[in-house]
Amino acid sequence: MSNFKQLSHIGPSLCVKFYNDTILLAAVGPFIHVYEFRSDKLINKCRIFHNNKIHGFDISQEKCVLYGGKSVSIISISDLLNQIDLKHTELYVPEWVVACTLANDNENCYVLTCYNQVLILNPNGVVLHTKKLLNERSILYSGSIKVLDDRVVVNAGTVMGGILIWDLFSEQKIHNLKGHVGSIFYVTVSDDGKYVASCSDDRSIRLWNLENGQEVSIGWGHTARIWNLKFFNNNMNLISVGEDCTCRTWDISSESELITKNVYEVHLTKNCWSCDVQEELMIAATAGNDGRIKLIDMNKASRYGNELQSFTLQSIGETLEIKFEKNEIIKGFHWFSFGLIAITSLGKIIKYVECTQSWNLIVVNEDLASYSNTIGIDNTIIFSNNKGYVLLLAFSDDGRSIIMQKELHTDYLSKVTNCMCVKFDENYLITLESPNPNDNFIALEIEPVSLEIKRTFKFNKPGNFVSSCLEVVNQNYLLVGSRFSTVAIFNLSDCERDAFMIKKLNPGDTVTSIKFVESKDDSNLFSITNRDGFYNIVNINFDNETYEVIHSNKIVKGFLEGAFYNKDNEYITYGFKSTLFYMYNEQHGYEILSQLCGGAHRQWKLCSLDGTNSNEEFMLVYIKASELYLRRIYKPIVPETLVNGLHGREIRDISILPQPFNKEEYLFATASEDTTIRLNKFNLVTGDIKSYWAERKHVSGLQRLKFISNKFLISSSAREELFLWAINTSFSSNPYITVRATLPTSAHSPDLRIMDFDTLFINEDRTDFIVSTIYSDSTMKIWYYDSTDNQFKLLWTSRYKTCCLLNVKLIILEDELYLLVAPTDGHLVVYNITNELETARISDNKLVNIKVPMVPVTLSNLKPEIELAVHQSGIKCMDVEFSKDTFKVYTGGDDNALSISKFYKNGGRICGEFVYSNPKAASSTITSCQLFKNGTRLLSTSVDQIVRVWKVEEDKLVSMASRYTTVADTGSSDIIKDSSLLIGGVGLSVWEYDENSN
């Protein structure tokens, strides 16, 4: 008996509901996942249906009715929470089920079908009654049933814009609500029976009066279709989610217009399907196509009441009993654990103590009147002016008294335009910089108790340098970020030495943050961010003065002001986009916070809320319209997500890194239609999946991706994009990935896709290789990748016909080099390119050397040695098995067939034979096929959502096992250790395959 089963799945979740204030239920494929949501614990996975996806469910205290497709199940909550397999409860309804609702008696339930019929079902699956609205039988995309005190109302959303509201028991029409344009995608009635809310293809939400059928108000805001709605907060608010991946809340009290209260960006790229609200806690949950279960604290900015405070100088002046001048403004500030210290444009230093909520004037300092720069560190504030004057004030923990105070009058520089500070072991390091290129770059080491200068460092200032941020490591190296995406590294034990410069890391904006990540032997990792949105992980060797960017990426949009690893080792970025300040979880791709503040051009500071620098709670201080705002960012009361999800759109290709990452864990990469590549890992035993990064280098939907060795990955897509990525797995913080080289492009057609590629390494150390690329315009190319100058050089190009090419392999047979191509015309085409690549040297069936030709490469008109018809239309997938003097090609086609063809040499030419075909190997397109177990097994996936394993016998394939997969648009797979499978499409599944188990 073989064991062939799914271990885990991340994919579209179509419905989420809170059961009570601790339990959340989420529908994932045919399963219900049960979460203790506050502690982020998955407590049960219960299979409800054989194959169908669960589209929705209704719950009461004791019971649950679930539906999806034509399936319905009525079960008890206790079974749902405790059993793992309830497939036997699955019942079939003749038509698609649009909604199910439990009746008030807690016994029966109402089942609304897409033809506007309601079946009244008893718990044994007996249809007690069938109710319908006479002559209204056209198809529905949506609907709901509302049990009110005195009646049961059916709300049917038609495809023609109308909403039929009818009374279930009398089967009488109550209203036909007209106003929407296009299909209705959701309709619901408020608990008090007063309102109907609906949404449609027209992207509007409409509120109707159930009593008189009048339209009450309309809400606009969603930029794509809206899929789900719910009333909450005593029917005063609505929550909506949709195709644009946002979740919005609305106030319904106003006449004619629904007022947007909040917008949350909750899912990746496409489709948020469902939402629910836990009203006591005011927590919302959403579920999306990306598989994510997101929780939203709807009181994030009001849960403790003090999240947002603002002060004008005038209001501060009133409590201080001093007068601020008319044109006096706040020039600088810092938040400490006790409160805030700020300075005005006239040198007034003021203090806000949080526990007493009082303002004090500390001192008026004329020296800081016209120009001041403010820095805070521990409990010390540091002010400086442009003449070299520095004032340091150290406060007691409660902020009530100044325990030490120091004034420095420095004269190293002609003018001071920037002053920054960083912790230097236990001490502080203050840097001073002037605009004069001939001045030094100054650093002062300050003892934190006495505030005395311990040491002064005078460095030669590099050219083209304007400092922007600092970091110190190993008690010896001062890293200073600058404009032009440059970092200068000063050696604190050798001031004479010129700084080691890292220049132009990214296109050119200012470096906004440098954060030490980890060190290992001589390697020191730093996270370096750029205002233009790029971030990098850079490995620096101080002794050799070398560096390597091991990770790089760009944020989705906006300005990037900084980044750090949080306590869960997730990479968090922050900055501004349009009028918002944001914090974003870059690893998993969700917003942690957004605060309307007016945008990037203002004074602002992100400080730690409790002064501990724990990176968990923050105080965002900013000025908007001359007002000082304090925005407290607390730890969330519920986890941000219960599942992070993967891709919002189809996964087009999957590749597993051959070498294990950890004991039972392997890294893998996914390439998606959403244009990102994700680097992830999975566990062979548990099936657990964790994603690390979403790389945004491609601008079009991905075609292919493959690890060509344990160090390199190649990915390709439209716009002729092909990138060589370097993988680094030697650090403990994370695996890292960055683009190493980019393939040159030729045409300017955005449609020109690189459909597939294949590589052959040249030398033993697997760094240089040749790569063949094939294109949607029938072009074939061969390139040489030379690791020393890190470039792709064209060796050869030709064209097959005019049709699109789909698959390619480079093959060496008897010391000759062949190119095998599979186009959309269903042929296998073989070219002998040995003589085309004159400089190629092959021995022992290995490519041992190749040189780039001196003359420019022109289009070759080489004719194929053979064109063998094997499929009726496009060959979608291909795998090749080599033996000494033959190779066998296994192909899967758009024509449902799996075929085997054999190629060998005869009289110096390649001959081929079409040896086997199963024309009904699947009921739709076969999208991936792969040999495993030493070529004795073939795995195939197809769009009919069946995963099949075939036994490879002498020139034929015998079906061994086939399983249904819940992954729709099944299109990619990979296998590792002959026993672990990844299946991708709309979602991703981990499977286990073992023929020897009992």
Binding site: K53, G68, G69, K70, K87, E90, Y92, P94, E95, Q117, V126, V127, K132, L134, R137, S138, I139, Y141, V181, G182, S183, F185, S200, D202, S204, W220, H222, T223, R225, E243, K261, S578, L596, A747, H748, S749, D751, Y775, S778, R799, T802, C803, C804, T824, G826, L859, Q872, S873, K876, D894, D895, N896, A897, A922, S923, S924, V943, D944, Q945, A968
Partner: protein, 316 residues
């Protein structure tokens, strides 16, 4: 909406424009006919129904084949085209704006034919997709079942039925159902249909319903009920009113056929139109590429307007 730049680079789009077709879909029907020749019977092809016909390129093909290019007798020939959307007139085609899932549509068509049966029924219908694959495939199959319902009432014995399908997870159930009504069911994919899309066409030849079954449309009966007498309606509520439990359903894989010949344009390929083009594709004349389909009026027109005015930004 007008032409997108992607359309402009599409060779079938250009060909459609050149040959005066309203949509590139015309080539799908033409290529299907190249293989099956169901439109080439000059004498016996008289009455034809084009379901889900807007903007009308299939009707144009039918009109040309049956009238303009026909050398035979034109007497009694008739084409009826039905769509939810209005269609601008096409010579020799009677258009009907109606929902094909609505039972009354049948009597309207029958009336237009003077109660005579049709020789050929086709449907290129597709609903708006939601992104929920199972729902989209179901709705598509319901559209096919509605078309099939009409077909069984109107198609003469031995007639041909052609309809668009999505080859998703339950397509083999549909194949098996069709097997009860037609002599031969083939899944055909024209070269003009993109290889990356799930779209294909069922070509059902030799209409031959079970002899003991009489199709009868009833306004209040479901499609399942309609077909229940001929082994097509699989899911019935049993006589004791109990819903059925899960069981393995009958499935069948239809023969696949690629249509359009090796030399026809590949809809997955990229063709170049720029000056420095080195391909040996015969370049279509650079006609002015006005939209070939009349501009549609999407339901979200108002939302687009608001967006253009900057009213849909994230203000909170």
């Amino acid at each position: 909406m007008g032409k997108s730049s992607k359309d402009k680079r599409d060779l079938y789009y250009r060909k459609a424009k050149e040959q005066g077709y309203r949509a590139r879909s015309a080539f799908k029907l033409l290529q299907l006919n190249d293989e099956f020749h169901f439109l080439d019977d000059e004498t016996n092809l008289k009455r034809v129904v084009d379901l889900c016909a807007a903007p009308g390129s299939w009707s144009q093909v039918l009109s040309r084949k049956m009238f303009t290019e026909s050398k035979g007798n034109l007497d009694g020939k008739k084409i009826v085209a039905v769509d939810l959307q209005p269609m601008s007139p096409i010579e020799n085609v009677t258009t009907l704006q109606a929902d094909i899932t609505h039972p009354e549509t049948l009597s309207k068509i029958l009336h237009l034919f003077g109660n005579e049966k049709a020789d050929f029924v086709c449907s290129d219908g597709a609903p708006d997709v939601t992104g929920l694959h199972d729902l989209d495939e179901y709705v598509q199959q319901q559209l096919i079942m509605s078309a099939l319902q009409l077909t069984t009432c109107i198609l003469k014995k031995n007639g041909t039925f052609v309809a668009k399908i999505f080859r998703g997870r339950d397509i083999d159930m549909l194949y098996s159902q069709l097997g009860y009504l037609f002599e031969k069911v083939i899944c055909a994919k024209p070269k003009s249909s993109r290889g990356t899309s799930l779209e294909a066409f069922i070509v059902c030849l030799g209409y031959n319903p079970p002899s003991n079954w009489e199709p009868k449309l009833d306004l209040n009966k479901s499609v399942e009920e309609f077909f229940s007498g001929c082994s097509l309606g699989r899911l019935k509520i049993s006589d004791d009113n109990k819903l059925s439990n899960w069981k393995i359903e009958e499935r069948d894989i239809a023969e696949f056929m690629s249509c359009g010949g090796l030399d026809s344009v590949d809809s997955d390929a990229t063709y170049h139109f720029d000056e420095d083009d080195t391909s040996n594709v015969k370049k279509p004349a650079l006609v002015s590429l006005d939209p070939i389909q009349s501009p549609t009026n999407p339901p979200y027109k108002k939302a687009l307007e608001l967006k253009r005015k900057g009213k849909l930004t994230r203000a909170v």
